[in-house]
């Protein structure tokens, strides 16, 4: 049970923390900075793709971590 609580705590903490990344990512993707919606430079395109992948990767990482904890401790004794 403690493990479940720990996993839930990790999940909640992760869901809160990743919100702080959103504004900075949005600002960097905005037209005043990288202008990802109309990027012309290959480097800008690459960075925009990385920025777009950050939040999904963080969410996937959080889910993987919590899922791994639960799976490891409960389903795989």
């Amino acid at each position: 049970m403690i493990v479940v609580f720990l996993a839930v705590a990790y999940f909640m903490f992760g869901m809160i923390v990743y919100q702080f990344l959103k504004p900075d990512i949005a600002i960097q993707r905005d037209s005043d900075h990288l202008n990802c919606s109309a990027a012309m430079d290959w480097g800008d395109m690459g960075i925009c793709l990385v920025l777009d992948g950050v939040i999904p990767l963080v969410v996937i990482g959080i889910l993987s971590a919590t899922g791994g904890i639960i799976t490891d401790k409960i389903f795989l004794p």
């Binding site: 959103k22 504004p23 949005a26 905005d30 925009c48 777009d52 939040i55 999904p56």
Partner: protein
């Protein structure tokens, strides 16, 4: 005949009925030199058709355009001016010829064509000669001299001459036996009667003139009180600034510039009295009007160094003003020299400086003046008393210091040269803030924008702020006319705008000072941070022009092949997956992702959409069927 008279009368009546009627053109009140007066005329008309009407005011042979206002069928014209001075002049002493000695002449100036009559009183060693009336003929000739001399031929007499078209003519001869050659005083008193008139212009043509009116202008006088000038306006007394004891003092080379009206025309008085007196009382005429006086009074006393009283223009009236002038004993004071320089350590000339100290609880001016070419000014101050010394010069910040001046020399540095412009720093005393302070806002959200400004120095004309979007369209604005500042609020939705541009400003003396800031409006909903957003972005870059890293279809296909090969090979090697169906399943998944989601696998020409995925799927299904039913 009768019919002719009737016809004539009828014509005359028509003419008369068409005439411009002038009313109330005279100014009957007595006025005075330097007073500010308004002359008004009222005209009405019958049966006159015109498109414009104007009037000129002729005063003392000078013509002035007037201001018109209309009331119904009546036009009102007015003109205001400072009443010029009456006849004035200076008495010069001279010796004109061998047969005349002593005496002198009165050199005067007058406007032309005005009516003058004047009286002269003079005295010689023979005593006063009474008042002599100067006839108009003395003023009509284009000359400006009336001579007063002693004729020493025969039995000496004193004579008054004036020059006319025939030359000099004698207008006064004293009783014989006045053999003293010196005329020792002359008092020239005049009164003036000035002419004025109104000229009217209909449709730009001078059609009518009023009568010539005569305006009496009484003299305005200011001087030491006497039997003939006996209504006191200001009384100067002197005190020791240390013990406040009364002192007798002299006034040497004092000047007074005085006037009744706007100050455009003034009269002046030079006054000197080298005898120490406890007070000097100055009287003025007329007694029923305020007199404006600009004084410059150097005063001193025995054992008291000179000080100068030079205030700004003061207003005096028959309600006597008592002005105490303070002196400091030579045993109590110290000459303090202030050397005024700028930031480059250059001497500043023309700096206005003054020093004040508290006397009987009132901050009192004890010294003032301007710096000379060397940038220095010396004041006689008490080193044991706190003084406030201030220094000001155009284009420099005013500097004041409050302390005891115990040294003989101080250096004052005026900084902040504002240059030659007349621009003031309208940010002095201004404190402002703008909220929200975040650099970004969420879209589709109402925000309360708050501009808070306080002004502790300037009186604001108004202040406020505007909100515009990224396209420059004004979305909202608000302002306030509070002179000391305050809060201004606006509740505005970000909507679908991408940015807000805020311009906030304040206006002082008609000059606008502004600043700005911007807000980025972003969509913080999760859809813009999704995997789908990533895939869409990638797809967009791949299909853009220029393509992503310049990759064309072949390049993307080659990379896709390598990716499939590497991933499948890694899975087989790392995790030991050797079953063909399973490997084909991995390959099918990768092909589907790369083809359907990302669209980077080239499709053969003429093939159906997503042909690689379909073909791989068929192969995977075949191998799976084979494994299942093996």
């Amino acid at each position: 005949m009768k019919k002719l008279l009737i016809l004539f009368a009828f014509v005359f009546m028509i003419s008369s009925a068409s005439a411009l009627v002038v009313n109330n053109a005279s100014y009957n009140s007595t006025t005075y030199e330097t007073a500010y007066e308004t002359f008004i005329v009222n005209v009405s008309w019958d049966n006159i058709t015109y498109s414009s009407i104007a009037a000129n005011f002729i005063y003392n042979d000078n013509s002035y355009s007037t201001t018109q206002s209309s009331i119904g069928n009546t036009s009102l014209f007015s003109y205001s001016l400072d009443i010029p001075l009456n006849l004035s002049g200076t008495y010069y002493t001279s010796q004109s010829s061998a047969n005349e000695s002593g005496g002198g002449y009165f050199n005067y100036s007058k406007p032309a064509t005005s009516t003058y009559s004047a009286n002269a009183t003079f005295s010689s060693a023979c005593g006063p000669h009474g008042q002599i009336s100067i006839p108009q003929t003395c003023f009509d000739y284009y000359s400006d001299k009336i001579a007063l001399q002693t004729d020493t031929t025969g039995t000496p007499t004193v004579r008054l001459f004036c020059q006319n078209s025939s030359g000099f003519s004698i207008i006064y001869t004293s009783a014989p036996g006045c053999n003293t050659p010196v005329i020792n005083s002359v008092q020239w008193t005049t009164y003036n009667q000035t002419d004025f008139q109104w000229n009217f212009y209909l449709n730009g043509t001078n059609t009518d003139n009023s009568s010539i009116y005569q305006q009496v202008v009484q003299p305005t006088t200011f001087g030491l009180c006497s039997a003939t000038n006996n209504v006191p306006f200001v009384n100067f007394t002197f005190k020791d600034e240390t013990d406040l004891s009364s002192i007798n003092a002299t006034i040497v080379s004092g000047t007074f510039e005085y006037y009744l009206g706007s100050g455009t025309i003034t009269k002046s008085l030079s006054f000197t009295n080298t005898t120490e007196n406890p007070s000097y009382s100055f009287c003025s005429s007329p007694s029923d009007r305020n007199l404006y006086v600009d004084s410059y009074i150097p005063y001193a006393s025995t054992n008291y160094p000179q000080r100068i009283f030079n205030p700004s223009v003061k207003t005096y009236s028959s309600s006597v003003s008592n002005q105490i002038l303070y002196l400091l004993s030579s045993t109590d004071g110290l000459y303090v020299t202030f050397q005024v320089i700028n930031a480059a350590e250059q001497s500043l000339q023309g700096v206005f400086a003054n020093a004040t100290r508290s006397i009987s609880g009132t901050e009192t001016l004890v010294a003032e003046g301007t710096t000379g070419a060397d940038g220095g000014i010396t004041m006689w101050l008490n080193p044991d008393v706190i003084h406030t010394a201030c220094f000001s010069l155009v284009n420099y910040n005013i500097f004041c210091t409050t302390q005891m001046f115990t040294q003989s020399t101080y250096t004052i540095s005026l900084g902040g040269d504002a240059g030659n412009s007349n621009v003031s720093d309208y940010q002095t005393g201004i404190d402002y803030s703008f909220r929200p302070t975040d650099s970004y806002l969420s879209n589709g959200t109402y925000y309360l924008f708050n501009f808070t400004l306080s002004s502790s120095y300037w009186a604001l004309d108004s202040f406020g702020f505007n909100i515009t979007n990224g396209s420059g369209s004004l979305l909202a604005s608000n302002s306030s006319t509070s002179s000391s500042g305050g809060d201004i609020l606006l509740n505005v939705s970000t909507g679908q705008n991408s940015s807000f541009y805020i311009t906030y400003y304040w206006i002082v003396n008609g000059t606008t000072t502004q600043s700005s800031r911007s807000y980025l409006i972003i969509d913080l909903s999760d859809t813009s941070f999704s995997i789908a957003n990533l895939i869409n972005r990638f797809t967009g870059y791949v299909n853009s022009d220029p393509t992503f890293f310049g990759l064309n279809d072949f390049g993307l296909g080659l990379l896709s092949f390598l990716l499939i090969l590497v991933v499948t090979g890694t899975i087989k090697t790392k995790y030991g997956l050797s079953n063909a169906a399973a490997l084909l399943g991995v390959i099918f998944g990768l092909v589907a992702f790369l083809d359907v989601s990302l669209g980077v696998i080239p499709n053969p020409i003429g093939a159906v959409s997503n042909f690689p995925t379909i073909m791989t799927g068929v192969l995977f299904a075949g191998f799976l069927f084979k494994e299942v039913f093996k």
